[in-house]
Symmetry: C2
Subunit: 324 residues, 2 copies
C-alpha cells in the first residue's frame, strides 16, 4: 500500500476496472498453497494474458505436483511489477518468506476470508464466496471473456478444493452453478475431483492407517484427536502432499463435533487443525493465536504431543460446554 | 406389463402425462437400496401427493437409517395399486423377494441405466442422466411444481449418492445445475453430503483399517484387490451400513486402473464390486453374469476368497492387456 492512502473495500466492478487499467502485474498466492490460492492465481493470470497484460504468478513455496497442470504454459518471465495482486491471502503474514517483502506494496487483494486484514490499497473481499476462485469466475463474467478449458479447470479446482468437493457449508447454489459453467467451458470436473479427493499414494494409505491408530475420543465422543509425528511420516516415506487432508479424518467419526489433528512441524512444534460441526473452530484456534473459518481453523502449539493435546482439550472442553 | 402389449420407450413429456393420468400408484425401489432409488421414490411420491394422487413407496429391504429422513411423513396406507412405477430399477430381478411378484405388472419404469431391460409397459430411460433423481427433477420442472425442501433433499440425495459426491464422470453441468436448483428449493446439501460421505461409525473406521490390511496389488500396480469376510465384519460389530462404500477404496490408490472389492455374503459366496478408470468394469463383470456401468459394476463369484480373486484377476488381466 502506498503511503498516505487508506485501504479501501471495493466492488467486483471496481476490481475489474483496476485490473484492466493495470499492467506488469504480479499475482501472489499464500504459502503452503492450496487449490484455491493456486487455481485463482492461475485463472486470473490466464484471463489477464488474454487481456494483453504482462503478468506472472508467484508463491513462496513450490507448486505441489497435483496442481502442476494449472500452471502449464504460464509465463515465468522476470519483470518489475507495476501492480501487485494477492489472491486468497487473508493476511500478509501468510505470503511466506519469499514474498513477505511485498507486504506493504499490495495494490489489490481478492479474497473470500471473513478474517481478511485489508492490507491492500484496494480490497475486494466477499465472504459469501465459497472460494476466491468463485470471485475470479465472476470477474471473467464481468469482463465477458469466453473461458477456455485451462481457466475453467483452474477455477473448478479452486472451488472444489475449498468446498471439500462441495461438502462444506460454504458451497451455495451459486457455487454449484459456477461449477456447472466451468464444466460447460471444458473443465474436466470428475478428473479434477478424482485427483484432489480420490487418489492416494501407497505412502498416504500407510500414513492414514497409522494416524487412525492414534485416534482418541474425549468428552463423550464429541471430540476426537489424532496426531502425526515427523517419525511417523519418515517411516512411511510420505511426502508433504501425502499428509494433506488428514485433518478431516477425526471429525468424520459419528458424533464428533470437534476433530483435532496435531501435525508435528520440522521444529518439533505441533500445527493443530481443528474441524468442527456446530462449534466455532476459529474461536478455539484464536486462543492460541491462530484463526480461520467457523468450521475449519488452525493454530500452533508448542511442546510435546501430550502437552499440545492437553492445551487443546482444555479449550475444546470449554467450547463444547458453551455450545451445550 | 399387460399381455399383448410391447414395451415402449417414452419421452419425459409422455412419462409426465402417464403419471398425471394415473392414480392409486405404487412406486418400487430396487433391493439393497441406495440413495438414488430411495431419493427418487421419495421425491416422486411427494410430487404425486401434491398432485392429489393416492400413492405409496415400496422396497424389499428396510430403509437404511441414513435415508430415513427422506421418508418422514410419507403415507404407508395399504391399497390395491392401479399403476405401478419402478424407479432406478434396471431389471425386475433387482426388485428383490418382497416385490418380485410385480415383475410382469410394471406400468412405468423411470431409469438411467444403459443396461435397462425395458421390462415395463412404458419405459422412460435416459442414460445421460447421472441419477434417476435427475429425471425426477426434470419431471417436477415439466409439471411446473414448486419444490419444497423435502422433495429437494430427496432429489439432491439421489444425485449426490449416484455421482459419489459429484466425483464420477456421470456428473454433467446439468447435474450440477439441478443440484443448485435443489439448494435454492431448500435442500440441505452440505448436511446431506456430510451424512452420505463424511460420517463414519467407529465400527466403520475399524472395518476400513482391516480391509486396508488385505489390499494386494497386481499387474504392476494397475489392479488392487481387497476383501471383506463375514468374520471381519462380525469382529468389528459393523452393520450393513458400515460396509457401504468400501468398494471405492482400492481404486483410490495412485496408478490403480481396476479396483476390486470382494465382499462375502451370508451364503459364503463373494460379491465383487469393480471400480475402474479407463477400463470397462461392466464388461469385466459380464464375464461372471454381472453388469453395471462402465466405471462401476458388480458380479457374484463362488468359492473361497482365493478362488474368487484368481477368477477375477484372470479377466482383469485380459481387460488391462486389451486396454494397453
Amino acid at each position: 500500500m502506498k503511503q498516505n492512502e487508506l485501504p479501501t473495500d471495493i466492488s467486483l466492478a471496481e476490481c475489474g476496472q483496476r485490473l484492466l487499467e493495470a499492467d506488469d502485474i504480479y499475482i501472489l498466492s499464500h504459502q503452503y498453497p492450496d487449490g484455491d490460492t493456486l487455481g485463482s492465481a492461475a485463472a486470473l493470470c490466464r484471463l489477464l494474458l488474454q487481456k494483453g497484460k504482462r503478468v506472472r504468478t508467484l508463491c513462496s513455496d513450490e507448486i505441489p505436483k497435483k496442481f502442476a497442470d494449472l500452471y502449464q504454459g504460464l509465463p515465468q518471465e522476470e519483470f518489475s511489477p507495476a501492480f501487485v495482486v494477492a489472491v486468497d491471502v487473508a493476511d500478509v503474514k501468510l505470503l511466506g518468506k519469499k514474498l513477505e517483502h511485498f507486504g506493504d506494496k499490495i495494490d489489490l487483494c481478492i479474497d473470500h476470508h471473513g478474517s481478511n486484514k485489508r492490507y491492500a490499497r484496494w480490497n475486494y473481499v466477499d465472504p459469501t464466496a465459497a472460494a476466491a476462485a468463485e470471485m475470479i469466475a465472476q470477474l471473467a463474467n464481468l469482463w465477458g471473456v469466453a473461458l477456455d478449458p485451462a481457466v475453467a479447470d483452474a477455477i473448478f479446482t479452486g472451488i472444489t478444493t475449498d468446498t471439500g468437493c462441495f461438502k462444506y457449508t460454504n458451497a451455495t447454489s451459486r457455487t454449484y452453478r459456477i461449477a456447472a459453467d466451468m464444466i460447460d467451458a471444458g473443465a474436466d470436473a470428475s478428473r479434477i475431483n478424482r485427483i484432489m479427493f480420490d487418489t492416494k499414494s501407497r505412502a498416504r494409505l500407510e500414513i492414514e492407517r497409522r494416524v487412525l491408530d492414534t485416534m482418541r475420543f474425549y468428552f463423550d465422543g464429541r471430540c476426537a484427536v489424532v496426531y502425526v509425528t515427523n517419525e511417523m511420516v519418515a517411516q512411511t516415506g510420505a511426502g508433504a502432499d501425502d499428509t494433506d487432508g488428514l485433518a478431516s479424518l477425526p471429525r468424520q467419526v459419528e458424533g464428533v463435533k470437534v476433530g483435532v489433528t496435531l501435525r508435528q512441524r520440522e521444529d518439533g512444534a505441533f500445527k493443530a487443525s481443528v474441524r468442527t460441526d456446530g462449534v466455532n473452530a476459529s474461536a478455539i484456534c484464536a486462543h492460541f493465536g491462530g484463526g480461520g473459518h467457523p468450521a475449519a481453523a488452525g493454530c500452533l502449539l508448542p511442546g510435546t504431543v501430550e502437552q499440545a493435546r492437553e492445551a487443546m482439550l482444555e479449550v475444546v472442553g470449554r467450547a463444547l460446554e458453551e455450545q451445550a
